[in-house]
Every structure is written in structure tokens, then in C-alpha cells.
């Protein structure tokens, strides 16, 4: 290796060293916190299910794998059997297939919605905090307005207007969800805007864009990640509630919320066997609960581990 290349390598190593050190520190903290390990394991478990869905539950309709296969048309659910490990729900939809492929739906909703609201929140929050004045005033009034209406009710109204489908649910949740991110980023930018290192960067001629993305955002990224982790759970929960109400996924689509709405008429079994149809409601519900719990545990642990104000204590 030429000395030039070695020098370059050394330079990169030096630049990355503090970051690697911090990452190692964070990882060691995660390992020490049992709750965050549980959260991480739950998420990994679901990630594996989502990735291996075609192997675990081979689709009956390969061109449309999210359609839950039906085994007959009788309304009465059938209990778990060798063929249908979790039984079939109303209309003979296979519960096992539904919950496995529903994992993919949940990840898609969580990542799409939270990813989008993070981007929108970062852009609008940066504009608002960095430029201040009239832009700030307008954006913050919009944020106030959105935050004054309960998430579920505004999402319901939007879905009514946009149409009942899973994509529309995601759009509605994005419209409802961005304001809290914009507010968080704005607050962070306001608190560091007058710091001397920002002034120094400005004096050396770094552009506004560079200052926001290189100097301000990296300092604000941890609270953002914590909020995102908690929000993936919350958004999946709201989407499931909308599907449950009949405003989300079309009938027969692999979606946990909708599978519970199938079970609504089967809460009580025939006389003498009140819990005969327990599997129709219990199983999809446990999937939602664990998925959301995983993200919440992770987010909660992140809060203690990643927050620079708390981490070294």
C-alpha cells in the first residue's frame, strides 16, 4: 500500500473513531438492559417471520400473496387443526396464514408511515426553527392545529374522505403524524442555533443546508429515534384500530386489525361452550400486542440509553 493511501486510511479511521466508540458504548448499554433485549428479540422474531413468510405460509395465490386463502364459505370458525394450526375465522379464512402475512403488513405500515413523517417533520421543523419569523409562525400554527385533534378521529375523517383502503390509511396517518416531529426538530434547532460552533460553521462559509444537516441534526437524532421507535408501535396500533372499524384493509387482506374484526361476532360460543371460538380473537390480538410491545420496549430503553443527557449517568 502506498503511503498516501495509508495516510488516507488513517485519516478516515481517526474521523470515525469517536463514532465507533459511541456505538460500542450504546451496544454495551443495550446488552445490559434486559427490557431492551426483550424488545430487540421480539422485533427480530417478527422480522424473521416477515422475511420468511413465503416459506412459513406458502401463498395460495402467488400473484397476490396478501389475500388470505379461504377453505370453504361457511361462517362458523373452525378450531385449530393439523391443516390450519390457528384454526379458521369467519368465512373460513386461515388465521395462521393471515397473521404470518399480516406481519409484513404491520412492518410496511410502521416503516412507511414513520419514515415519511420523519422526513416531513425534519424538513418543516428545520425550516421553522432555522429561519424563524413568519415561516416559523405559519408552520407552528399548522402544527398546533393538527395536534389539537385526536389522532384516531382525524385519521377517521381523512380515511372517510380519501376512501377505505390500506394505502389511504397510511396517507392519513402520515398527515396526522408529522407535526410532533416538526415540533421536536424545531425545538432542537432553536436550542443550538445560537451556539458558538454553529456561528463558527457559518463564519467559515458552510451553507444553511450544510449547517442543518451536518451540525444540527446529528445532535438531535437520538430523541428522534426514540420517538420513531415508539411511534412505529403507536401507528401500527392506530392502523389496526382503523382496520378493525372497517376503514382500512379490504376484506380478506392479511391484516391483524381486520382479522380481529372478523372475530367480533364470535366472542361467545354456542351454549355450554362459551369460549369455543377463543382462537379467532386471541391469536391476532397477541400478534398486535407483541409487535407493539417490542417497539415500545425498544423505544423506552433507547430513551435511557441513547439520550445524551442521561446516558453517562
Amino acid at each position: 500500500m502506498s503511503p498516501e493511501l495509508l495516510q488516507k486510511k488513517e485519516k478516515i479511521r481517526k474521523r470515525l473513531e469517536p463514532r465507533i466508540k459511541e456505538l460500542k458504548f450504546s451496544l454495551s448499554r443495550i446488552k445490559k438492559s434486559p427490557l431492551s433485549m426483550v424488545g430487540l428479540c421480539i422485533i427480530l422474531f417478527f422480522a424473521i417471520i416477515a422475511l420468511l413468510a413465503p416459506v412459513i405460509a406458502p401463498p395460495k395465490y402467488p400473484y397476490d400473496p396478501y389475500r388470505i386463502p379461504r377453505y370453504g364459505y361457511s361462517a362458523t370458525p373452525k378450531p385449530p387443526s393439523w391443516e390450519h394450526p390457528f384454526g379458521t375465522t369467519e368465512g373460513q379464512y386461515d388465521i395462521f396464514y393471515g397473521v404470518i402475512w399480516g406481519t409484513r403488513t404491520a412492518f410496511r405500515i410502521g416503516f412507511m408511515v414513520v419514515g415519511s413523517i420523519m422526513v416531513i417533520g425534519i424538513i418543516l421543523g428545520s425550516l421553522s426553527g432555522y429561519y424563524g419569523g413568519i415561516i416559523d409562525e405559519i408552520i407552528m400554527r399548522i402544527v398546533d392545529t393538527f395536534m389539537s385533534i385526536p389522532t384516531l378521529i382525524l385519521a377517521m375523517a381523512l380515511v372517510t374522505a380519501l376512501g377505505h383502503s390500506l394505502d389511504k390509511v397510511m396517507i392519513a396517518l402520515i398527515i396526522v403524524g408529522w407535526p410532533s416531529y416538526a415540533r421536536l426538530i424545531r425545538g432542537d434547532i432553536l436550542s443550538v442555533r445560537e451556539e458558538t460552533y454553529i456561528e463558527a460553521a457559518r463564519a467559515t462559509g458552510v451553507s444553511d443546508f450544510g449547517i442543518i444537516f451536518k451540525h444540527i441534526l446529528p445532535n438531535a437524532i437520538y430523541p428522534l429515534l426514540i420517538m420513531a421507535s415508539l411511534d412505529i408501535g403507536a401507528m401500527v396500533l392506530t392502523a389496526a384500530a382503523l382496520s378493525f372499524l372497517g376503514l382500512g384493509a379490504p376484506i380478506g387482506y392479511a391484516d391483524w386489525g381486520q382479522m380481529i374484526s372478523f372475530a367480533r361476532n364470535w366472542i361467545i360460543g354456542p351454549p355450554g361452550k362459551p369460549l369455543a371460538y377463543w382462537y379467532t380473537v386471541t391469536i391476532p390480538g397477541i400478534f398486535i400486542l407483541l409487535f407493539v410491545l417490542g417497539w415500545n420496549l425498544l423505544g423506552d430503553a433507547f430513551r435511557d440509553i441513547l439520550d445524551p443527557k442521561l446516558r453517562r449517568k
Binding site: 389539537s148 385533534i149 375523517a157 362459551p274 420496549l297
Partner: protein, 344 residues
């Protein structure tokens, strides 16, 4: 004098949010076709038979800003349109469904706040002890529970397994017959309170029996937030100088916690009560749907499914106003009790 200034300033702050809410509602409204929008302007189902005349009369094909002002004038006159799911004008339907929802809130809000504060405080006082871990796990599981699933599970057990012990709906068949009959005076239209005022104890007990499951569902889901906030603010308060002073003066631990730490720690809980109300309303939509309690949430959920636009937009408006008002009251109380706010 300072207080009056503060009140005026605070009242002026409401205006942009209310205008914002009206704009959001109007934007959602303009996503619909004029034919669909017509329902928002009529007060009588007969008018809907001649939609073209409604469109013409209210200028639904006029430029968008003209439409907005016409719509605002209608709203300010209390005309929110015709709700087809309730089969009456939106404002009437609102007052028709309100009592059942108030009843639900009346029973669950105090429970949510008391249990939340108690758990948060205990968990902060016994930090890292088993009770702390237990209540934190309770909070995080409550936070993650799908409310609709919890409600259905409770029904499966307490209505199915214990055959009919805690049934859905707001009243039993017999009780609702009596309530609807002539010799039962409906003072407030809130079942439990009316039953007490009429001295019909068995109706009161029946109404209570129907309330237990929805109240439990709402409480488990929502008290997690109160608990979390209380715990962290209690931890913060316990580290403050005045606590050390109190201990140094020889106050016993109970007085320190009750008189010095708890009072200060409760301020953040009061501050978020606006959000608590908003969360309660979201929860009400789900619980009322599951338990078939005919209240506001039940109506809104049905309205959203059946494309009852005026009802859904009325829900957004109502919740916006509720949030603004609760926050206003909280802020004014806050300023009244804490001179730093009003003078700062």
C-alpha cells in the same frame, strides 16, 4: 391587572387554532364531490331529495374561498348538516349521544388520573424496587394493548364465560323499558345519575354493571400515560433542594412525599390533561363500538363507515373545540396558582 392581561392574551391564542381546525375540516370537505357535500348544508332529510337545488342554493360550485365563508356562516349559525346515520341534524344528534359518553368519561377519567398518579408516585418512591418494575411493566403493556382487542377479550370472559355477568350496551332490556317509560324523569339523560335522582336503585346498579367493562378498558389503556409522566416528574421533584431542606428539618418521609414532592410533581400531569382528554375521546370511539354503547364514539365510527360526512366533520370540530377549551382552562388555572406563569 397582570392576570387580566394574561387572560386576554391567552384567549387571543385560541383564534388561530380554531381557524386552523375550520380550514382542515373544509379541506377534507372539498375532497368530496358537490353532491356528497350537499348533506353538510341541509337540516332536513327532505331537502336531500333535491340535491341540485341544494348545490345551487349554497353555491357548492362557486370558487373555493366563497364556499369557505358560506360554510363558516352556516357553522356559526349552528347548522352542521344532516347526519344520515343518526337520522337527525348533526347538532341534535350530538346532544342526543352526548350523555352516554359523558357517563363513560365521568367514571373513567377520575380512575385514570387517580390510578395513574398513585402508580407513578409509588414507582418513583420505590425506584428500582420490585413494585417499580411491576408498575412500569404494567404501563408499557397497557400502552401496547390494542384497546379493541382488550375490550373483546373482557367481553369473552365476563359476558361469555361468566354467562352474562357484565353485558355490553348501556342498559339491560328491562331497565331501558322503564327508563323510556313515562314515569321515569330524564333530568340529565345520563343513566346512572337519572336513576339516582328517580330513586330507582336497581336501574342504577344495572347501569353500573354495564359500565364496568368499558371503564376498565379505557382505564387500563390510558392510565399508562399519566403514570409515566407522574413517575418522571416525581423523580425530578424528589431530587430538588426543597426536599433535602424538608428532610433536614426532620420532617418524616410521608410528609416529605405527600406535602412537598407530590404537590410539585402533579403540575406536569395537570398540564397534559388536554392531551388526556384527546386520548380519552379516541378511546371512546373504540370502546363504545365494542360494547355497543350508543354514545358519540359509537355514532362517529358508524358515520365514518357509512360515509356520513357531516357527522365525521362534526366530530373533528367537536374534538378541536374540546381540546382548545380544556387547554384554556388548564392554562388559566395554572396561571392562577403559579405566579411565575402570569408574571413571566
Amino acid at each position: 391587572m397582570k392576570m387580566t392581561n394574561y387572560i386576554i392574551r391567552r384567549l387571543l391564542l385560541i383564534i388561530p387554532v380554531l381557524i386552523g381546525v375550520s380550514i382542515i375540516i373544509f379541506i377534507i370537505l372539498s375532497l368530496f364531490s358537490p353532491e356528497q357535500r350537499a348533506a353538510v348544508f341541509v337540516t332536513d332529510v327532505k331537502q336531500l331529495r333535491n340535491i341540485q337545488s341544494v348545490i345551487k342554493k349554497h353555491g357548492l360550485d362557486a370558487p373555493i374561498y366563497v364556499q369557505y365563508f358560506r360554510w363558516i356562516v352556516e357553522v356559526l349559525h349552528g347548522n352542521l348538516g344532516w347526519s344520515k346515520t343518526a337520522e337527525r341534524p348533526v347538532l341534535d344528534a350530538f346532544f342526543y349521544f352526548l350523555p352516554n359518553t359523558i357517563e363513560l368519561g365521568l367514571f373513567s377519567a377520575p380512575l385514570i388520573i387517580l390510578i395513574g398518579i398513585y402508580l407513578g408516585e409509588t414507582s418513583a418512591v420505590y425506584r428500582d424496587k420490585p413494585i417499580d418494575h411491576l408498575s412500569r411493566i404494567f404501563a408499557i403493556v397497557g400502552w401496547s394493548l390494542p384497546s379493541f382487542w382488550l375490550g373483546l377479550m373482557l367481553l369473552m370472559i365476563f359476558y361469555g364465560y361468566f354467562s352474562g355477568l357484565l353485558p355490553p350496551e348501556a342498559l339491560g332490556v328491562q331497565a331501558s323499558l322503564v327508563v323510556k317509560s313515562g314515569n321515569f324523569v330524564r333530568f340529565t339523560r345520563i343513566n346512572t345519575i337519572d336513576a339516582l335522582l328517580n330513586r330507582r336503585w336497581w336501574i342504577f346498579l344495572d347501569a353500573l354493571r354495564h359500565l364496568i367493562l368499558p371503564v376498565i378498558t379505557l382505564t387500563i389503556i390510558d392510565c399508562a400515560m399519566v403514570m409515566r409522566i407522574m413517575r418522571s416528574s416525581m423523580l425530578e421533584a424528589m431530587g430538588k433542594g426543597y426536599i433535602i431542606t424538608a428532610r433536614a428539618k426532620g420532617a418524616d418521609e410521608r410528609t416529605v412525599i405527600k406535602k412537598h414532592a407530590r404537590r410539585n410533581a402533579m403540575i406536569p400531569v395537570v398540564t397534559v390533561s388536554g392531551y388526556l382528554f384527546a386520548m380519552l375521546m379516541s378511546g371512546v370511539v373504540i370502546t363504545e363500538t365494542i360494547f355497543d354503547r350508543k354514545g358519540l364514539g359509537w355514532w362517529w365510527a358508524r358515520a365514518a363507515i357509512q360515509l356520513d360526512i357531516p357527522a365525521v366533520l362534526g366530530a373533528v370540530l367537536f374534538n378541536g373545540i374540546l381540546f382548545v377549551l380544556t387547554n384554556l382552562i388548564v392554562d388559566l388555572l395554572y396561571a392562577y396558582f403559579d405566579p411565575r406563569v402570569r408574571l413571566g
